[in-house]
Assembly symmetry: C2
Homo-oligomer: 573 residues x 2
């Protein structure tokens, strides 16, 4: 029971049969075809040799098949995480150096260990800090940065930087060095890829090609573009004309190895690894949940952390770099019929085969083709609709998006997302630090109490009834103190204050201290403090505490009961 929850493969593996095998194999073939150019391109985006992308598409997929719970999630290199890797590793080593590659491996290892620990200790809630506005603003800005970073690759000029100011400056500086052949290859690849993406299916439909075949042709399109530009490169001797090519790639599978455990590198990469882990997890879990729901399946968020953690540890061991579940590939995997996580393992076998067979030919592939692949892959990430929606819905949510977006574009991925998270937290505490507080009175003829400002209600002189519409905790404890202080200063004839707690779901120790301060100050001026309609769990907590025993007033079951009891006591007293 316990074992299958940590090794979901033991569960679905038992029910594995010829039918699921067939479905998984077909899905694996389609995803493999899609993944080959993407994995090469994303490695380049991460500033790593292209084979690193292939390596990151082998062992991680097998690890996810063992530990993951989503039948459709396609794990591997993705655009945003590749950019984040480049930004993190670029801070501590020069691109192309041995240190750079080993730092990327260390980053995968750290991220893998963090994700696994978060899963084992059920800390998935940490991902909640990335609110929707933050993740949307971040992904859109990342898409723009990634597309801009490929302009150099498309034009054959050198660019650098992982945020817009540096990128734009370096493009402007080197714009004179444009290589016409590179630009031509880039333009052809870009036009073909856009056409394949948006138009090829309709065109095939009109030609009468069946839907299934058309899908396979569309999926294979990007690989065709790779082949086409390789052929062009060979026929026209593009290298001789100054077009940057991928160059020699080591043939064969990666050697297994452990990362170089250098403590100072680990310290420098710890925060980026945490951010990459959380961003990767949030992206992965949302696509996994969406796809699982379509089949009434369920994914286990904490086990997903372990699955992604294992994938990243596998990436580190197998010469790759940080990976996560990719949105577009997962949808393709799902549509192609992937029935179990085994589809991912078969994809890994496909990529391993490609690594063995294709690497000799990759030397002549123009880098511009990969740049075009990236641009087309990231365009769907750029989505401004959330800005409009947030503006209409709530200015505070809009502020979080705008700050994340602007911060990411101008200051880079880590700063941008940190600013966004900080803004979300500030906005949240700002809102809940000023909870709705109403002075209430009785609706005539009922036992029902409502806001005196909105309803015609009856109040009893000398008794003030206050309803707080929020749990009481450190962010708003002082607000209630201020409110009560201003009320007793304004009403010299008060004898009793009743706090109506029907909307108070919790009281933390800061709020308890505030309640004690309120009680203490009221006592000084001869005003009794009462509570009413305190919820069971809150009452359980308060009962353990001397506060209730020392309360000058009573705790009443209902607000109506409170008013009656106070009035009766003052008549008799």
């Amino acid at each position: 029971m316990r074992l299958t929850s940590y090794f979901p493969i033991l569960d679905w593996g038992r029910r594995y049969n010829r039918q699921t095998l067939t479905s998984d194999l077909i899905a694996a073939i389609i995803v493999t075809i899609m993944l080959i150019p993407q994995s090469l391109a994303y490695a380049l985006l991460a500033g790593l040799p292209p084979e690193t992308g292939l390596y990151a598409s082998i062992l991680p997929l097998i690890a996810y098949a063992v530990f993951g719970t989503s039948s459709a999630l396609a794990v591997g290199p993705v655009a945003v995480v590749s950019l984040m890797t480049a930004a993190a590793v670029g801070n501590i080593a020069a691109e192309g150096s041995v240190d750079y590659a080993s730092a990327a491996i260390m980053l995968a290892m750290l991220s893998g260990v963090m994700l696994t620990l978060m899963g084992l200790f059920k800390l998935g809630f940490i991902a909640n800090f990335l609110s929707h506005p933050v993740i949307s603003g971040f992904i859109t800005a990342s898409g723009i940065i990634i597309a801009t970073s490929q302009v150099g690759g498309l034009l054959g000029i050198h660019t650098e930087g992982h945020a817009m100011p540096d990128l734009v400056m370096s493009i402007a500086d080197n714009i004179g060095a444009i290589n016409g052949y590179t630009t031509a290859v880039g333009a052809v690849a870009l036009v073909l890829l856009v056409w394949i993406r948006f138009d090829l299916r309709n065109w095939l439909n009109r030609l009468g090609v069946s839907k299934g075949v058309a899908t396979i042709i569309v999926r294979a399109g990007p690989v065709m573009v790779v082949f086409l530009t390789m052929v062009l490169s060979a026929l026209m001797d593009l290298q001789g004309k100054g077009v940057p090519l991928v160059g020699q790639v080591p043939q064969g599978l990666p050697m297994l190895s452990l990362p170089n455990l250098d403590l100072s590198t680990m310290q420098q990469l710890a925060v980026p690894a945490l951010i990459i882990s959380i961003v990767g997890f949030v992206e992965s879990i949302s696509v996994a949940q969406t796809l699982a729901a379509k089949r009434r399946e369920r994914i286990a968020p904490n086990q997903e952390l372990i699955g992604l953690g294992a994938s990243n540890i596998a990436a580190a061991v197998g010469g790759g770099y940080p990976v996560t579940g990719g949105f577009a590939r997962s949808v393709v995997n799902f549509d192609a019929g992937a029935a179990t996580p085994a589809a991912g393992a078969f994809t890994a076998i496909g990529i391993a085969g490609a690594t063995l067979l294709l690497t000799p030919f990759l030397a002549i592939l123009p880098k511009a083709t990969l740049a075009a692949t990236i641009v087309v892959a990231v365009l769907p990430l750029v989505d401004f609709s959330i800005f409009r929606r947030a503006w209409d819905y709530s200015k505070a949510d809009f502020a979080a998006i705008a700050i994340t977006f602007t911060g990411t574009l101008l200051l880079g991925v880590e700063t941008g997302i940190s600013l966004g998270v900080g803004t979300s937290i500030l906005v949240f505490f700002y809102r809940s630090s000023q909870p709705h507080i109403a002075i209430v009175g009785r609706v005539p003829g009922t036992e029902h109490f409502r806001n005196v400002q909105r309803h015609q209600v009856e109040t009893v002189p000398g008794i003030l009834s206050i309803r707080i519409d929020e749990s009481l905790y450190f962010a708003n404890a002082r607000y209630l103190e201020d409110f009560v202080a201003s009320q007793i200063a304004a009403n010299p004839s008060l004898t009793d204050v009743v706090l109506m707690c029907s909307a108070v779901n919790a009281v933390d120790i800061s709020a308890l201290e505030s309640l004690e301060a309120i009680e203490h100050r009221l006592k000084e001026v001869g005003v009794r403090l009462h509570l009413s309609e305190v919820k069971g769990p809150v009452m359980d907590k308060l009962k353990q505490n001397p506060f209730l025993a020392e309360l000058s007033g009573e705790v009443h079951l209902s607000q109506h009961g409170a008013i009656c009891a106070i009035r009766d006591a003052s008549k008799n007293g």
Copy 2:
């Protein structure tokens, strides 16, 4: 109207009369006597020349009298802020250097500007981040650090550091250099001060001294100890025996000046200044509120920020260092009858007089006397009772205290308080990321719906009713998604899901996206989503949004109405 809210002096100044003048003058004399040794001692604690403490007790008090709203708050140097100043400034300059003194002035200026801006923009809510557990753990740890830092002064040895490891190490390293005369002076001063504090009043009572006179004698006790040790120092030539004395102090009032506006110093001091501002404000506002409530007065938190901000700007201009409202002195001020903030202005005049007249004599004062003054002043800060209370009340609150306390002791004031704030925020989000969610059914014979696990209730097959006991926002949006996903995976026969929103006070855009994801996933599997008992303000927000228009189910006024409508529809359909 607006002017008096920013200049409270215009309000109470108009009602000023002979009676309030007398009260204020008496309070001012008592506080002045108390403040002279404390201001000298706290300046030494901050690593500054002793006259800096006097300077920080002149202009800031006058500024507070103009801008402050508390009639009893006694502003000036306090122990915890002095320690924080030493820690912040010690990072960027060597103690005793010109840079050190000018950095302290800059710190006061930054803190003053920050507090004033927070007041003008009504940002007092930022102080809420310092929850009760954090501030309690922090103050107790600071008290221990401060007392330990004075061991060197009491024994005549050199110590350094602003956290326990450094302090204890430096005491251990130098313990061999103890000066017997210094230790004797320190011991005498300490014993006398403790005796004055805890026993003198009883002793005077037994002698038949009237209560009023006894109070004045007790308050004047510390100044007497200063005089006594000065006399001892002169008679016994303590300087010749190696006892460290205060030494030459410039006579006269401070020159007004602006701080040296060095940008890199400002950057380094910005975060410490913010932390000092918030800690100072929290300490000050709680004593001000407690004292104000005793007289049914009211203090305005945002105007208090301006008052403390003006005080710190005045401290910077007048050669002082960061100040705030002190707990012990404010209570003395209140008890002595201070009727308006003018009492503080009179105290400032008293200190100015002392600065002119006393400074020539201070040269022979042993520093050990000041160390003893500090130790006696900070002992009440060390209070472990909150640890026990928090442990009993909530383990999460206890964790926040323990982390703040340990972090402050071992890693210093800034790191300690930052860890504490981080822990509070994490704990809060952890709790609210897993809100109470109940599946509800109808209590037989009523229209009332309760938790199926706690009550005997009726449910309708195919309809799942879920009640969420928390506002929906980014921290728990995904939790609801998980919950609904697991429910639809477990109940294949479901046709309708009703979300009962009676406890949902707000829905942010992250939660809205989650609701849309839930709706979308339910639609995929042919399940309708309904809402019931949505509160007015939440409904206003949702109405602006396409989510409601595209909802597969309906929004029902009551949970009972929802169940009836769904059952009727399925019968008719």
